[in-house]
């Protein structure tokens, strides 16, 4: 059942406990909350190493009120596939009667770089899992090192003058595997995101969701702006919200008038070194224009 209002989403019980060690204003906590709210009680969460794992499962406590498994950086999708197969076998042998949703919550390092081979394997085999990548665009847990998902021009501790390459196209890779369902999400459009998670889980899988997650520490902004920055990423056309289902790509949030990318970049300290370089800004703007042309977003408002 799609979420028609915020109230219907809020009334679902929380399976994510407060008291975790994530930073104030962390987007990963919001994503974990919404995902567990939508997925419900019969869910198993698998996470590779990352911020979400180290700060929610500090010994001896856990923040998860659903079964949770932490595995190594590179095999979250493989571990989730294994659990799903074990469930199938136990149901076939009539040892248990209830099936479970398998949801992987991986960071961009555990998805785009280190975990890519196991993700590719799981998507190609058609495993019935939902892989959600919360993309904070660097290795935030170990101290803001660049990853394959770091966008052009962004400062990290290993790209101090700004990243020189464009962001890896994870959605393109997922769609190239001809997955059942793939979508992008943003916490600022929470109803759209919740409906996408619901659809991904109910369709079985393999499904993939790419979710932008502003990081207060790594992106260098005031913690209260997490939702605003998620919204600006969509409004500037750098993060188009679309879904891929049965071979068709469809825009789910229309952006009739795009904002210039500098609106999004100027709020973040990680882009400070390129803010007075018009040629660098033009490059990011042309990247956004390319995305807009591809997905049918509107022109930039003057």
């Amino acid at each position: 059942m799609p979420f028609k209002s915020i109230k219907s989403l809020e009334e679902r019980p929380d399976f994510f406990s407060p008291g975790h060690g994530l930073c104030p204003g962390c987007g990963a906590a919001q994503i974990a909350r919404i995902v567990t709210k939508v997925a419900g009680k019969d869910t198993i969460i698998v996470t590779p190493t990352g911020c979400l794992e180290v700060s929610t499962t500090t010994y001896p406590a856990t923040s998860w009120k659903v079964p949770y498994l932490h595995v190594a950086f590179e095999n979250a999708a493989a571990a989730a596939s294994g659990i799903k197969v074990a469930y199938d076998a136990l149901i076939r042998k009539k040892k248990i009667s209830k099936d479970a949703n398998l949801v992987v919550l991986g960071g961009d390092g555990g998805t785009a770089d280190i975990g890519l081979q196991s993700l590719s394997g799981a998507l190609e085999r058609g495993e019935r899992i939902t892989y959600i990548c919360y993309d904070n665009e660097a290795y935030m847990n170990t101290g803001i090192q660049r990853s394959g998902a770091t966008p052009y021009g962004a400062w990290t501790t290993t790209s101090p003058a700004g990243q020189k390459t464009l962001k890896k196209d994870l959605m393109g890779m997922a769609m190239a595997h001809r997955v059942k369902y793939a979508a992008t999400a943003s916490i600022a459009y929470v109803r759209d995101a919740a409906n996408k998670v619901e659809k991904a889980i109910s369709l079985g899988g393999p499904s993939f969701i790419h979710w932008i997650q502003p990081c207060t520490v790594g992106w260098r902004y005031d913690p209260k702006l997490t939702v605003k920055i998620s919204k600006l990423a969509v409004k500037t056309g750098l993060w188009p919200l679309y879904e891929y289902y049965e071979g068709v790509t469809k825009l789910t949030v229309e952006v009739p008038k795009r904002l210039p990318v500098s609106e999004y970049l100027k709020l973040q300290g990680r882009f400070r070194q390129i803010m007075n370089k018009p040629e660098e800004l033009a490059k990011i703007q042309s990247y956004a224009d390319g995305l807009a042309g591809k997905f049918g977003l509107g022109p930039v408002a003057q």
């Binding site: 915020i6 008291g19 930073c23 909350r33 406590a61 209260k224």
Partner: protein, 95 residues
């Protein structure tokens, strides 16, 4: 004679924790600014509840009336609720 290794189903079960972080970590001590809701102007739209990353804001129902309550034991004072409130009834007050 060498002792045989146990089979997988003879092994002891792994460690399962049932302690939740909400029982032991009171993250409210991290806070510098605390959000205060003006209940007379609150429209109960629930956006603050949805966006709270903790989650430490909930709806409290008491005979035919409901109220948005912030649990200060866990609030880290990020200010997302005050920023995202559509009617701006949440103030960040220094403690």
């Amino acid at each position: 004679m060498k002792k045989e290794l146990p089979y997988w189903d003879e092994m002891e079960q792994g460690f399962v924790t049932r302690t939740l972080t909400e029982m032991i970590n009171k993250t409210g001590t991290w806070r510098t600014f605390k959000p205060v809701i003006d209940h007379s102007r609150c429209t109960k739209c629930r956006w603050c509840i949805i966006y709270c990353p903790e989650p430490c804001i909930h709806m409290e129902a008491s005979n035919s009336d409901e109220k948005v309550i912030i649990d200060y034991d866990f609030c880290k004072g990020c200010g997302i609720c005050a920023e995202e409130c559509p009617v701006k009834v949440i103030d960040m007050v220094e403690e």
